[in-house]
Symmetry: C2
Subunit: 619 residues, 2 copies
């Protein structure tokens, strides 16, 4: 054993001790899944090639340095190893490690950004590689920096389709700065994985998708791990190191055994295991190699132009979305747009044509699109991802997880609702408001005309956090001019009088139905208030409560399911105000038909609104 190996072996030993100590103290966690990757990760972070070239370069005093190498634990349950690595690097004490999984500790059960060295929250399997794709795309095409992105992958999670979305897109974009490290420890949660220890079967598939692979027959032998990492320095393509390892390695009680997934040793077992492992100390923290002090390529922002639409005209909000992106693109050099092969429908195409270098075609793979968007966002980009609202559903788990990464990420779902017409229910987004509302601190915007869309895209760009924007397929009449502002959390009262006997609350396509209904009702001598609820979350509770008080009746109209949408958002807002709230929403099985027929079928068109008001305010 040469000197380098001895140092790494010592570090590996120290990592094992910390993994056991922290999980035994916590009384939960995944020691076995951590132990299998000890040598792979120790070699990566603290090893170097025979020529002295480090594999991993990172300034722990500046974790956000733009040229740090990136390390993502896609198998987030191996967090005890992740934290132990940073302890070995001198960034956590043993006492810190013993706070693992405790309420006020940043060392959560699965890594989150509460711990400074976490690049992105993981723990829902099969997402880390997609995040890595975003970081690698950023290095290669946007920031033009030499940093590399490493992703530790579990073998169980390779069955997630999202992995193969990430694998294919990495090959497509020739990301030779992306390295996957696949820890094939054979055992999943419930038993053996689909391919067991057959590392060749993984290699065949990854290579068929256009990657290089390096096989490591014994992932616990530094004599094999270091050469693999050395070879990876010269990758011409995205590269995956595929290593045969053992779950629970180093602890006979659990090594390579069933029924030890996600289970810590108890205090007694822990003591025994530590005795068997022998004493370990970190005499001095292991040093990480310094990154080069390079900064991203940057271009200067230009002045933001105002949107221009002709009064009295009409335009689809999805077109305004595309135009707004193109307009904002000049003012925000960090703005990047992703789309899932439907940019000529979401109209993100308008941005692509103007800024082709900042548009990435993500093909029909929505899950990876969102993870990649997250990776770009974490690297400082202002990212908009778009597809049909109906297909964005595909990526809701990635959306959920992006929230736990504190992501600054913008989503656009187009073709919302039954009003898309003939294409039928599979293409109709009807659950999107409900889902995005559940995301903590999310913003949900739903513009009704082109001008408000343009302004709301600006607001989305300005707001740090998760923003969802819902757009409509059909053209809608222009309601606002360029002087109007649309702050997040606001609304627009479009019809109001002291004689109002009911309030109509709507957004998007149904706002226009509500306005027509209000005009019809006015002719019948019934005044109704009309509110454009362009900001569904947060919403303008004050204005809604005032309307509740003053008119006593609120009717919500939405091209969305009756649950979790505008209706229930309004109900929540006025829950403390005595008032009758009546919901009009999509409540029949949608189908193909003309937009008008479908609005009528679902009782969310002008006539249905008129009927509802007449029924409720009948003297």
């Amino acid at each position: 054993m040469d000197k380098v190996d001895a140092r790494l072996t010592e570090i590996a030993h120290y990592l094992r001790v910390l993994i056991l100590q922290s999980t035994t103290e916590a009384g939960s966690g995944h020691p076995t899944s951590s132990l299998s990757a000890v040598e792979l990760m120790a070699g990566l972070m603290f090893g170097e090639s025979a020529e002295g070239k480090p594999f991993f370069r990172f300034d722990p005093n500046d974790p956000k340095h733009p040229n740090n190498d990136r390390l993502i634990f896609s198998k987030g349950h191996a967090s005890p190893l992740f934290y132990s690595l940073w302890a070995a690097a001198g960034q956590l004490s043993l006492n810190d490690m013993l706070t693992y999984r405790k309420l006020d500790s940043p060392l959560e059960g699965h890594p989150t950004p509460r711990f400074a060295f976490t690049e992105a929250a993981t723990g829902s399997l099969g997402q880390g590689l997609g995040v890595g794709v975003g970081m690698a795309l950023n290095a290669k095409y946007l920031d033009k920096l030499p940093y590399r992105t490493f992703v530790l992958l579990g073998d169980s999670e390779m069955t997630e389709g999202s992995q193969w979305e990430a694998v294919q897109i990495a090959a497509h974009y020739k990301l030779n700065n992306l390295v996957g490290i696949l820890d094939v420890n054979r055992l999943g949660q419930r038993g053996e994985t689909m391919y067991g220890h057959d590392i060749e079967s993984y290699a065949r598939r990854v290579e068929a998708f256009g990657w290089e692979t390096i096989l490591v027959q014994d992932g616990h032998d530094f004599q094999q791990v270091i050469p693999a990492l050395t070879d990876a320095l010269n990758a011409q393509k995205p590269l995956m190191i595929i290593a045969r390892t053992f779950k629970g390695k180093g602890v006979p009680l659990m090594e390579n055994l069933d029924d030890w997934h996600g289970k810590p040793l108890n205090a007694e077992q822990g003591k025994q295991a530590l005795r068997e492992l022998g004493h370990a100390t970190a005499d001095a923290p292991a040093r990480l190699a310094e990154p080069e002090r390079l900064q991203p390529a940057k271009s200067d922002p230009q002045k933001l132009e105002d949107p221009a639409y002709e009064a009295g005209g009409q335009e689809a909000t999805r077109v305004a979305y595309g135009r707004a992106l193109a307009r904002l693109g000049a003012a925000h050099p960090e703005l990047v747009v992703l789309d899932a092969e439907v940019s000529n429908s979401t109209m993100a195409d308008i941005f692509r044509k103007k800024f082709p270098d900042r548009f990435f075609e993500m093909y029909v793979a929505e899950q990876n699109m969102v993870s990649t968007g997250l990776g770009l966002a974490v690297r400082g980009k202002l990212v908009f991802v778009s597809t049909f609202a109906a297909f964005l559903v595909r990526a809701y788990d990635q959306v959920r997880m992006a929230r736990y990464s504190d992501a600054n990420l913008k989503f656009c779902g187009s073709h919302a609702g039954v009003s898309i017409g003939e294409d039928g229910p599979s293409q109709m987004g009807l659950e999107d408001i409900a889902f995005f509302r559940t995301i903590l601190d999310s913003v949900v915007l739903y513009p009704s005309d082109a001008m408000s869309t343009e302004r709301l895209v600006e607001e989305a760009a300005r707001h740090h956090g998760m923003v969802y924007l819902r757009t409509t397929r059909a053209k809608t009449p222009l309601l606002y001019d360029a002087r109007e502002t649309f702050p997040i959390g606001g609304c627009k009262v479009l019809r109001e009088s002291s004689a109002d006997r009911a309030t109509l609350v709507a957004a998007g396509i149904t706002l226009h139905e509500a306005l027509k209904a209000a005009d019809t009702l006015q002719k019948q001598g019934i005044s109704v208030r009309v509110i454009d609820l362009y900001s569904v979350k947060p919403l303008d509770e004050e204005t809604l409560r005032r309307a509740a008080k003053e008119t006593g009746v609120i009717i919500t109209v939405e091209d969305h399911a009756a649950q979790g949408g505008i209706g229930e958002a309004v109900l929540s807002a006025v829950a403390a105000t005595p008032c009758l709230v009546h919901k009009l929403a999509v409540t029949r099985l949608p189908r193909s038909g003309t937009p008008r027929e479908l609005l009528e079928l679902e009782n969310i068109d002008e006539k249905a609104v008129v009927r509802a008001v007449q029924g409720l305010v009948a003297s």
Copy 2:
């Protein structure tokens, strides 16, 4: 050209004419994506091997016959071709075809079961193969029938990760009765696909995943298509025919050209195209080969045992879920359980141990699990799919689409809410009630103790449709005995008096917090009603309205986001009843901690309920 070819060529010609006529009349639809697969599908449905062996056997007078071969258009936008095929088979007239995409026509923009020959609704890409896996699993392992399942796939949709989930599991289960037919027409919606016309690149990947492949260099040449289909008769593994085709084939105006995705010809262009194609008639409907008259293997149901729990004990609802499945398994020979590699957590394992032949391990691939479940359900199985509530989010698009297939499909999401504790937010299902409530006619059940769980699993099995059951990780005290019934749409009033000053509505883990709070408040002289809302959708509006009227204040308590959950369901139910509704729900960023600490952090524990009541009913 031999005689068989001439007949198929004539059919192909007829299909092209119908595709153009129907889409031109509709003024929308996807003629180009239909035209590329004309020969592949005509050959499949109406062709035979040189030895006279038909490729496809189906009794059109009995579309549900258990031994019919199955044909799924995963590229659902090619519906004009799908309907034209059935027209060629004598099942639709030209007049029927001209109703395409009209409101009262069963011929929707994307196939739905409103058309009798649709196996499952498609239109969200990348789902048909997973459905096919379910049908092929059924044939091979359950019904033990020789029918085969064919799935027409688009090249664009091969980028969906869900495809690779289906591909891998088909190989794992050795489904040599499943045939994919990949229509590589080079063009996606927005332009060229990732691999263009490189059919070898698809073959490499599909083979690496363990399938056989057959390449067809010209998918419009019956001399190539028929031999490929003949070879497919002898598949030893799942098999994919990968054919190079041209989008818009046969219509010079659109053939192999950009910007013709999803666009029909206008009336003038349509006339010209039909002139160029020349006249086509179906002198006689093309005959489909008869299926063998075989019926599924069946076993007799046994009597359903009653669940047994000791009064005063406690058990986790997830354990009761597993026990209920095992109990129902004997009474329902058609009951099948799928799980995504966490059956020892969801406790579906209890069923697996008793009925290993009716349990299918779906590995960590939730999307395909749901599609496969749908395929099994369509073939008459009573299917329960389970994973963590947090990870079921991964398959929400498949859930959404299953609804449009009128599926009889049951979902169980375990480990709901922050009360799972130390594992942290990535593992906490907090959006599930909101999402499942949006699904039209869905049933959402949320039991609080083992006994009600057992009964609700029975109810779920009895109910035809989509049912979601939410279970809890922790043990909870037993509340009910075996005599109690739990009808869907009901609730249980657990505390009630004429002096009630508020009503607590809860389910699952928080019901127990509400009960403790009620007892504490009672000691302070404040009587409150407590309702176990085990049926969140539909819910017992009458009892809730009565509580609203009688107590004036409702406090909902849920381990779920504040949007779309129990709180808003109750708000909707009492929207017409003057009453103050106050929601307690998860409103802070969740993290790792003990279950008790997290319930406290989120203000959904006993103390928070007591505080809320005190604040609201203070005289």
